[in-house]
């Protein structure tokens, strides 16, 4: 496997310029390059041109939420699932980047499982959000359901289609002031997990809270994530996917691309707008434009990842 393109500053800026829906992100040498979807369509870009469907990211389903910002989060999750099921070729797996539930209640986890069983793809990999570990047991409900791959630690890794996937947990402990924390044990595990791995193997890291500091006053970041990235800089392609902030924010740093995802439940305000990071109530017609899913396709020769964000409307 070879990484053909060197990341360019121009490419990186171009990626940032195309932030919205209907944009095709091509990951080349770790940097996302943007192509307008309409443009891609006129070129009759076929699925085979962009590789095989690798995975879909679903985030922040918040099952159990029922307030003004979206009284029907089950309905919008169903619409999101329909989007995934309508993909021309089904991905081999799905990543859920946390906040499955609103309040960690057993019935909310059960309702989420029931809804997510509507996906054609059954291989779903989870990381918890802070809402999923907010039961009195401090995560007992989440781990009783999803703890097996990580031995109840919350962090684990696996390989699929030649890509190395790393699930990290950053919602159990916090730095004073509120940033998430990975902690010494998880970082030591990560070091071992990456040791001896070929630098040409593409890496996909997923965790709930952003792994880079987007807005510290609202705790939108992870205090010790830099130690994790120090271990990843030697790799040619690292894609970091998070949820938590219910909107797309991206950053490129060397070969590491950071992307937060839209939620399927409700949007949140832009950093620092309003009293805090709560649900943002928008016009009913506007809501489906702010919710959605993300699909990622991967072509090994050359190693190219294409990230496509799709909204419900």
């Amino acid at each position: 496997m070879t990484i053909t393109d060197k990341p360019s500053r121009r490419g990186a800026l171009k990626c940032l310029a195309y932030g919205g829906a209907g944009t095709l992100f091509t990951l080349s040498g770790g940097v996302l390059l943007a192509t307008d979807l309409a443009q891609a369509a006129t070129k009759k870009m076929k699925h085979a041109d962009v590789g095989m469907p690798l995975f879909v990211q679903i985030s922040d389903t918040h099952i159990g939420f029922n307030k003004e910002a979206n009284p029907d989060v089950a309905g919008t999750l169903k619409e999101s699932i329909a989007l995934v099921n309508a993909l021309p070729r089904q991905p081999s797996l799905i990543l859920h980047t946390g906040d499955i539930t609103q309040l960690s209640k057993p019935e909310q986890f059960d309702a989420a499982a029931q809804l997510l069983s509507g996906l054609k793809v059954s291989d779903i990999h989870y990381v918890p959000g802070e809402h999923d570990v907010s039961d009195a047991g401090g995560g007992k409900e989440f781990f009783s359901r999803f703890g097996k791959p990580s031995n109840n630690l919350g962090y684990y890794s696996f390989d699929s289609e030649g890509v190395h996937f790393i699930a990290l947990i950053n919602v159990l402990d916090f730095k004073p002031g509120g940033l998430g924390i990975l902690g010494a044990d998880q970082l030591a595990w990560l070091k071992k997990d990456l040791a001896g791995r070929s630098a040409s193997q593409p890496i996909v890291v997923f965790a709930h809270m952003p792994l880079w500091t987007i807005y510290e006053p609202w705790g939108w970041g992870t205090g010790d994530a830099e130690e994790a990235f120090a271990l990843m800089r030697r790799f040619g392609s690292v894609t970091v996917l998070n949820g938590h902030i219910h909107q797309i924010v991206s950053k490129v740093e060397g070969n590491i691309t950071f992307q937060t995802a839209r939620a399927t439940c409700f949007p949140q305000p832009k950093a620092g707008v309003g009293p805090g990071p709560g649900p943002l109530t928008v016009d009913k017609a506007e809501l489906p434009h702010m919710l959605g899913i993300r699909s990622i396709t991967y072509a090994p020769h050359p190693a190219t990842m294409t990230i496509k964000d799709t909204t419900l409307a």
Binding site: L103, S104, G178, L179, P275
Partner: protein, 106 residues
């Protein structure tokens, strides 16, 4: 008659005593706009503190040293804990960990 009065008085005083014992100190904290108010409270040992979530968002009340931990409180829900030991107890909302406050028990 006199004995009865004494008995009644005794009973009343017992009741009063029991009543005094049955109404221990209480203190309330309101959660609103992503903050605990008051942010720092001082109470006597034996006080039961109740946190009321008056915010649109869910919050938790979790002590830094593991002494107490609420489940997620939705809007309108409350959580109580009786403090018996003296000390200063820091707590956070684990959903919004920048929300930090203290209870000092004397």
């Amino acid at each position: 008659m006199k004995a009865k009065t004494i008995a009644a008085a005794l009973c009343l005083s017992t009741l009063a005593f029991a009543c005094a014992k049955a109404t221990p100190e209480k203190s309330d904290v309101t959660i609103k706009n992503f903050s605990f108010g008051p942010n720092a409270i001082t109470v006597a040992a034996g006080t039961t503190v109740t946190w009321h979530n008056s915010d649109g968002e869910p919050h938790t009340v979790v002590s830094a040293d593991g002494l107490f931990r609420s489940a997620a409180l939705d809007t309108g829900e409350a959580f109580s804990f009786k403090f018996t030991k003296a000390g200063t107890f820091k707590y956070v909302c684990t959903i919004h960990p920048r929300m930090v406050a203290t209870v000092t028990v004397k």
